[in-house]
Each structure stands twice: as structure tokens, then as C-alpha cells.
């Protein structure tokens, strides 16, 4: 997707809505979902350290974009799961996965000249699913729209919670 802020807004919205249903899903856990939305873009480390440079140093083919796939996301989520305590593991697994999955799916809707997105299910398959091309990676309106939805969701949930109590 466009930018990380939109991804963070999407994860925030999803987790805030789920918190209506699951009492344990407090604000700290919403943050975990948001952190999950950052996972695929760890591939952006290539802006600092180019994959070709790592490849040349190790004499191996190397492409950071492998992190921006199902396989890379699952392994990265598990690192987060190992980092927390036993009590939090299931919840952190669920929320990091939700955040990372929302990011991969939102990116699969990006506009591409060929009409095909990217191999998000790798290593299961290198298949590039067709993309509806809803937005460009640099469209500013996506952050505004997802931000408005996030803010509206937050207000609605707060308002209903205060009405319930």
C-alpha cells in the first residue's frame, strides 16, 4: 500500500473493532496488531542495504522482498511470538498475523501496469494474482481515507462503550 500510515490505520481499525468483541483486547494489544502491519515493510531495509550488495558479500542470490511474502511474514510473526511471555503468546500470534495479513492484502490491490500484483503467497507459489488496481503506492488520499475510518471507528467504539457503562 501507499504508505505505512495507511497500513497502521487499517490495523488500528480492525483491532479496535475486534476489541468490541474480545474484552482482553486492550489498547496494548491494538498496538501489537499495528506492529504486525509493519512486518512486510521490513523489506524496505533494502533502501539502506541493497540486496545486491548483500548478495555480492555472501556470494548468494538475495532479495529482501522475500520478507514481503506469506513465508517471510509467518517467520517474522513467530519472532514476535517468541519475544513475549507465555501468557501473551496466543494473543500476540493472532494480532501480529492479522496486522501482517492486512498489509499483504492491501498491497495486493495496488495498481500495476501489467494488472498483476506480487507473489504474496510465496513460497507456496510464485503466482501474481490479478490486482483491481485501486490505488498507487504514492496516493495521498489513501492515508486520508483510512485515517478518517480509523478516527470514526475509535470515536464510535468510545461512544458505545460510554453508553454501555
Amino acid at each position: 500500500m501507499p504508505d505505512l500510515l495507511s497500513h497502521a490505520f487499517i490495523a488500528f481499525t480492525l483491532c479496535t473493532l475486534l476489541a468490541r468483541r474480545y474484552d482482553w483486547l486492550t489498547s496494548e494489544y491494538v498496538t501489537v496488531g499495528m506492529a504486525g502491519a509493519f512486518i512486510p515493510d521490513m523489506a524496505k531495509v533494502k533502501l539502506a542495504v541493497d540486496g545486491a550488495a548483500v548478495g555480492a558479500a555472501l556470494d548468494l542470490p538475495f532479495d529482501w522482498f522475500g520478507i514481503h511474502t506469506l513465508g517471510g511474514a509467518v517467520v517474522s510473526v513467530l519472532v514476535g511470538v517468541v519475544a513475549v511471555t507465555r501468557e501473551d503468546r496466543r494473543r500476540v500470534l493472532a494480532l501480529l498475523s492479522l496486522g501482517a495479513a492486512s498489509h499483504l492484502l492491501a498491497d495486493a490491490l495496488l495498481l500495476k501496469a501489467s494488472g498483476r500484483s506480487y507473489p504474496l503467497l510465496w513460497p507456496l507459489t510464485q503466482y501474481h494474482p490479478p490486482t483491481p488496481g485501486l490505488y498507487l503506492s504514492t496516493d495521498r488520499w489513501v492515508a486520508l481515507a483510512t485515517g478518517a475510518v480509523a478516527a470514526a471507528t475509535w470515536l464510535a467504539v468510545r461512544w458505545r462503550a460510554s453508553a454501555d457503562s
Binding site: 501507499p2 504508505d3 505505512l4 500510515l5 497500513h7 497502521a8 489498547s27 496494548e28 491494538v30 498496538t31 499495528m34 506492529a35 509493519f38 515493510d41 541493497d50 540486496g51 545486491a52 550488495a53 548478495g55 555480492a56 556470494d59 548468494l60 542470490p61 538475495f62 532479495d63 529482501w64 522482498f65 522475500g66 520478507i67 511474502t69 513465508g71 517471510g72 517467520v75 517474522s76 513467530l78 519472532v79 517468541v82 519475544a83 513475549v84 511471555t85 507465555r86 501473551d88 495498481l111 500495476k112 501496469a113 501489467s114 494488472g115 498483476r116 507473489p119 510465496w122 513460497p123 510464485q126 503466482y127 501474481h128 494474482p129 490479478p130 498507487l136 503506492s137 504514492t138 496516493d139
Partner: protein
């Protein structure tokens, strides 16, 4: 299992090894047009003639507009060497207006003499990339601040734990500074 410093460190080490194998495996993928993985700038830089007549997709900076030409940067490692450079391609049959400096994604058929017959193009104004990075950095700060407020590091167990008493942003900055100093 995986509840002590040693267990956690071992677990993370194993996972990082798997992640490393994944990025190496992904790096070894070649074009697969039947799966939608069309040859890109790097594939063309490696073996231009082998892809003549193929459908390709490249992204480059517009360097001329009449006729349209894009400069496609490539940077890859193959056969024991790192290859870095710019491949200039003339793009014909561009149906939308483009301006110099824009980033242009081109899908089309590769012809000899560094030419692509475009089937579809997508242009991105250069200025939009800068604002995207700024906005992304804001998201990072927002999430990091929330993490510091809601979570702390238990140094004894080497784990991330929820704070029993979540911080407010102001207190969080103070506490973070104090934890680093300790």
C-alpha cells in the same frame, strides 16, 4: 520451552536462519510470465536478447518525452559479480501524457534496439515519493510510542511484557529515558 533467555535466543536464531533462507530463495526466483512474474529491468540487463518478443514490466524515470524514454536502474548480483547500471528504453504507444522526472511503470512487448511497445503505463509524480516517506515515518513514531507506553522489556526473562499500568505519552518518554540509563 522458549521461556528463558537461552531458549528465546535459540528460538530467534533458528527463525532468523529460516528468514535468511527465504530471502535467498526469493532472490533466486527468475521470471515466470505464466504466473504473472514478467521479466523486469534486471532480467533485461542480464539477457536482453533472450526476452525480445516477451511481455515485460519495468519501472524507470522518464528522461525524454518525444519519443518517451525511461531510465531503468538495475542492481543485481549474478555469476560472481554485482552489476549496477541504467538501461535506457524507448517506449512507444504510450497513451497517457507523461512528464520528465516522473516514475513510469511500463507493461508491454520488448522489441530489439532497446524499445518497448507499451500495452499499459502507470505514472507517478516524483514529488509524491518524498511525502510518502515522511508519512511512513510518522506511522513508525506513532506505533513506537504506543509500544513504549503499553509494553516493557523484562530483562530477567528477556521478554516483552505488558505494563500493568500503561504509561501516558509524557510519562513514557521519561520512563524510556530512565530505562535506557539504568
Amino acid at each position: 520451552m522458549l521461556h528463558s533467555w537461552t531458549g528465546r535466543t535459540a528460538g530467534v536464531a533458528v527463525l532468523l536462519a529460516v528468514l535468511f533462507a527465504l530471502v535467498v530463495g526469493f532472490g533466486s526466483l527468475g521470471p515466470a510470465p505464466e504466473l504473472g512474474a514478467y521479466p523486469d529491468g534486471e532480467a533485461l540487463a542480464q539477457a536482453y536478447d533472450a526476452h525480445v518478443g516477451d511481455d515485460i514490466q519495468v519501472t524507470g524515470t522518464v528522461v525524454r518525452t518525444d519519443p518517451v524514454a525511461v531510465a531503468v536502474e538495475y542492481d543485481y548480483y549474478a555469476d560472481g559479480d554485482r552489476h549496477t547500471g541504467v538501461l535506457e528504453l524507448t517506449v512507444t504507444a504510450v497513451s497517457t501524457a507523461v512528464t520528465e522526472g516522473e516514475s513510469l511503470q511500463v507493461y508491454g512487448t520488448l522489441r530489439p534496439d532497446r524499445t518497448v511497445v507499451a500495452a499499459n503505463t502507470v505514472a507517478v509524480p516524483a514529488a509524491n515519493f518524498a511525502s510518502m516517506y515522511v508519512v511512513s515515518a510518522l506511522a513508525g513514531l506513532w506505533t513506537l510510542a504506543r509500544l513504549v507506553c503499553g509494553w516493557r522489556i523484562d530483562w530477567r526473562r528477556g521478554a516483552l511484557c505488558r505494563r500493568d499500568d500503561p504509561l501516558t505519552p509524557g510519562r513514557a518518554a521519561l520512563t524510556a529515558a530512565r530505562e535506557v540509563l539504568d
